[in-house]
Symmetry: C2
Subunit: 315 residues, 2 copies
Amino acid sequence: MNTTAKILAVLALLQCLPAFADSPKASRPKGKDTPSFEQILSESKLGEWRRPDPENLLVMRLPSGRVVMEVDPAYAPLHVANIRTLVRERYFDGLAIVRVQDDFVAEWQDPEADNGGDRRKLRSLGSAKATLPPEFTRPIARSLPWMNLPDGDFYAPQVGFSDDLPAARDPAKNETWLVHCYGTFAVGRDNPTDSGNGSDLYVAIGEAPRRLDRNLTVLGRVVAGMDKLSALPRGHGPLGFYARPKERTPILSIRIAADLPPAQRPNLEILRTDSPTFQRLLKASRERHDAFYVTPPGKVDVCAVPVPVRELSEP
Amino acid sequence: MNTTAKILAVLALLQCLPAFADSPKASRPKGKDTPSFEQILSESKLGEWRRPDPENLLVMRLPSGRVVMEVDPAYAPLHVANIRTLVRERYFDGLAIVRVQDDFVAEWQDPEADNGGDRRKLRSLGSAKATLPPEFTRPIARSLPWMNLPDGDFYAPQVGFSDDLPAARDPAKNETWLVHCYGTFAVGRDNPTDSGNGSDLYVAIGEAPRRLDRNLTVLGRVVAGMDKLSALPRGHGPLGFYARPKERTPILSIRIAADLPPAQRPNLEILRTDSPTFQRLLKASRERHDAFYVTPPGKVDVCAVPVPVRELSEP
């Protein structure tokens, strides 16, 4: 890494790791204090970070900038394939973020599909499928990596990380699924469980909506530009849909990173959750005691330590 | 209630209860389905709602509108008294929201107190105290009501509601405290635990930062206008402080509702957490199964069902 890249990386770390930053007005801990997240990350090794497959990165351009989502075909193969088709046929370009419900979700789709729209004017799905079997859970399998979080969970029998995403397991039912944390990226649907096709997508922007787990198909999570969604004006129609069309945020385009010229691809690295550095972060969160924190939480929740992302440069 | 008030109340319910609204693209459940939150609330009785004491409502005016916080002197008597002094001496008028850290907090204070400021120019605290003993926890007492949540908690031995605020208890230590959920309103401080005085205040705008529990003095929560804080542009300096002063949001004024002319006071009612209707909401969240939800969460987290607020009219 050259100096500029290093500086950008540090800046990106500070920006991408909100939950890692210190508390209101905390100072940096010293001496025997629990090391800060910045300190732990600064001691990480190059091999502890992975570069996401550009086939799995969706790059959404909004007037305010860029949002990048990483999707995981291992958990939602049919939905990821359908979304790639939609993206490559330019389905999303010119659609809009139609719903921002405070403490819940930012959602985008064809505006004509929301309650105020005219369904006869719906954009064609092209060669993408209109319905898909739900991918709410998958059978537990060796092909799905598992890094167990020993702290346990309020909702699920087991939680941990899989493909560096927060996940859960129910061994009695032989099921595993990606869980809804802040920043989770998933597929909206109508009532029939097969009505999701990837043309209606949402990101969780508030308290982890764990009640959605196993009821919706989770694709992955936002890995850059989260505040381009979380700071959007809230909709004040029912369910947070915008009452007036002009309040919607237009989507300039969505592209798969692999389809972009190399210089325009996001230059991201994601910390591996099976790395010693990620384990140190979990431990520091669980046991945190320093000049500021007098009472450690004693436990770490699966959503409490977002997996670190660093951006080496921004196109 | 006249018709206009009823309409306003319904609108306010739809706006103030984000976590109660249905899931991405859900339809209203029918028949034997779990009743929707809107349905349950529409069947509430007048006596199940309380009017907050106007001495306990702080009304913050921002250029975008009004944010209302309810504080609870039972949990933080010294801090609430000091904040009332600061408010009545107009300490906050003309200060600013100086920090909005994504998925964490929106915080306001004297801009000269942040890292980019000149501490010699700090505004005088007037007759308010500069330091206060921490009020992180209180001894369990009969004077502090307790509505136990039987679902349990990930972090604390017991959770429930006290004065209609999410709260926790540790009987072994004879301690009780208000917990950090989305919308929690609390006191920022420096490292010394007695350095909080109420001149530096924050609201949680992301995933419940439960690691702050018992480390900071919680005052209460936002009861109206939450999205005036949660949708603010994020700061991109360290810890989410704004890098440039012009990015800050000015605070036009903070007033105690009791000091406003009656016509300008917020006209709010808060659902009592010991009411049958609130119990029905908890049950519906825990067991939710309807045309949309195929797998109920089975449990309800203390932060998962924000206590309903209805606004009968807006000044």
